[in-house]
């Protein structure tokens, strides 16, 4: 479903992604793990048409996202690390807007929105403005929305960040259900290794822009003589702490957090 070959991305003289290759099979849940600044987000951006690779090829459901940008965008859904909802619109309006942007045929819109909102247990709150939603509800709404145009792949970038254990658990139940019942391929990143171990069929670990290991969680554990994926991860990536420079985007996020209560 996704095939990445010798992918490279450089920003000036910084090599963010250095020659990585991997494949994600149709219908599997694939976890892409790595410490902060390892190149996860850059890779996701290249997979989802947001960045052009410096070298190498990406194939998404048989398409080259750098060439067939519009067509590729219809094939995947994405849930970003930060919220991307309009919080002055209702849950239903957010869904409707997405349906219109992705040209979901008018005849199926209503019924599909209802099915997804019910699936993610948001139907009763459909006419509430999103600003009244909790973090978990917003995340659920975003996943529901990303499925509205029936993508074959969904990208989940740290979908459980900042959620309590109950909500996280429920989130993964939903993701697994989707994967099993609708055969959606899931590409996810997370910092919670136990979750990756539980949910993902295959895992790739990226560090300093290179893939340092890939395989099933069991294979990675065997390879490193570890009892858990978390241990295997630490063996493979070392235990030093990675500091990312705060970018203006990070500053914006903190301002947004400050203001979001007031708006």
């Amino acid at each position: 479903m996704i095939r990445v070959q010798n992918l490279v991305k450089t920003f000036g003289n910084i090599q963010a992604v250095r020659d990585i290759s991997f494949e994600v099979n149709a219908g599997e849940i694939f976890a892409f793990l790595g410490p902060n600044g390892a190149g996860k987000t850059t890779t996701i951006k290249m997979l989802t048409t947001l960045l052009k690779p410096t070298a190498g090829t990406v194939e998404l459901d048989g398409l080259d996202p750098t060439v067939a940008q519009g067509e590729a965008r219809k094939r995947f859904g994405i849930v970003f690390q930060d919220p991307s909802l309009d919080d002055q619109l209702t849950a239903y309006e957010n869904m409707e807007l997405h349906a219109a942007l992705y040209k979901v045929p008018r005849q199926v819109r209503k019924e599909r929105i209802e099915r997804l909102l019910r699936l993610f247990e948001l139907w009763d709150r459909r006419d509430d403005e999103v600003k009244k939603f909790s973090g978990g509800m917003k995340r659920r709404l975003e996943i529901a929305r990303s499925l509205l145009h029936t993508p074959k792949i969904i990208f989940l970038d740290e979908p459980t960040l900042g959620l309590d254990p109950q909500t996280r658990n429920q989130m993964w139940t939903h993701v697994r259900k989707l994967n099993q019942e609708n055969g959606v391929t899931v590409f996810l990143t997370t910092h919670y290794m136990d979750e990756a171990e539980r949910v993902a069929q295959r895992v790739a670990i990226i560090d300093h822009g290179r893939i340092v290991a890939q395989g099933t969680p069991a294979q990675l554990k065997a390879q490193t003589n570890a009892d858990s994926l978390e241990q295997a991860f630490l063996v493979l990536t070392g235990s030093s702490i990675r500091d990312e420079d705060a970018t203006s985007l990070d500053q914006m996020r903190s301002i947004a957090r400050m203001f979001s209560g007031r708006r």
Partner: protein, 248 residues
């Protein structure tokens, strides 16, 4: 086409829902109208220029549209911070459609604000030349709204946060307003002010509105229309270009 329409509707919904914003944005024009309009009224009359309210009202309406339009454009920064911009930029929709949808929405909101202030001016005693003045005045209001929404969107496209917003207000928007002849007649000005006023695009908007509403144009309405159309086209193209370069 569809994308343009839904983004336009979105902006209107947001406008109607934020009542605080509607009320807050009417405070300033009312203050200008009442304090300056009635405060300077006697002097203006003594100088033989007639009623200052008559003269000032088109300027205050133009000012309202200017501020509302710039603000609508700058709203892009909010959308970037609250994330909604990503949802639109990753959709299988050409960037230009997103830019046009946003600009149309913002301009509509700014025009509506202008209409509300026009009604307030009428209540405060402003009278325009018959109903025939309305279509031309509306055309100028719409042009002003478009021009400055496009400008605001262009600026917001290159601004990553709100740090620069104050800078834009003090060194761009305020001068555009104060030098435009919204508050004073453009005839017999000192040379430097005359030059500044004639390179300020809002001058032509205010002049066109004054020309259509009270029959008092400095540059002439043909010149006004021509300048506004050209500047709007430039701002729209520049805005679209800058918007197309936004990276997530």
């Amino acid at each position: 086409m569809n994308a343009i329409y839904v983004l336009w509707v979105r902006q209107l919904k947001r406008y109607v829902r934020s009542r605080a914003r509607i009320v807050a944005s009417l405070g300033q024009p009312m203050l200008f109208l009442l304090a300056l309009g009635f405060g300077f009224g006697p002097i203006f009359r003594r100088a033989g220029q007639g009623s200052y309210i008559q003269f000032l009202a088109p300027g205050v309406i133009a000012m309202t549209i200017l501020f509302a339009a710039i603000f609508s454009g700058i709203e892009l920064i909010w959308d970037r911070q609250f994330g909604f911009l990503k949802e639109t930029l990753i959709a299988p929709v050409p960037r230009i459609a997103i830019m046009l949808g946003r600009t149309l929405g913002g301009a509509t909101v700014a025009f509506v604000q202008g209409l509300i202030v026009l009604v307030i001016c009428l209540i405060a005693g402003f009278r325009f030349h018959g109903i025939a003045a309305v279509p031309a005045a509306f055309a100028f209001m719409i042009l002003i709204a478009f021009m400055f929404t496009a400008l605001g969107t262009g600026i917001a496209s290159v601004m990553s946060d709100f740090q620069g917003f104050q800078l834009v207000m003090n060194f761009l928007v305020m001068p555009i307003f104060f030098l435009s002849g919204a508050l004073f007649p453009l005839s017999n000005l000192p040379k430097i002010l005359d030059v500044l006023a004639s390179i300020d695009p809002l001058s032509y908007g205010v002049d066109g509105m004054r020309g259509s509403l009270i029959g008092l144009a400095h540059f002439g309405m043909t010149v006004d229309i021509a300048v506004l159309l050209i500047v709007t086209a430039i701002f729209l193209s520049a805005g679209t270009y800058l918007f197309s370069r936004i990276q997530l």
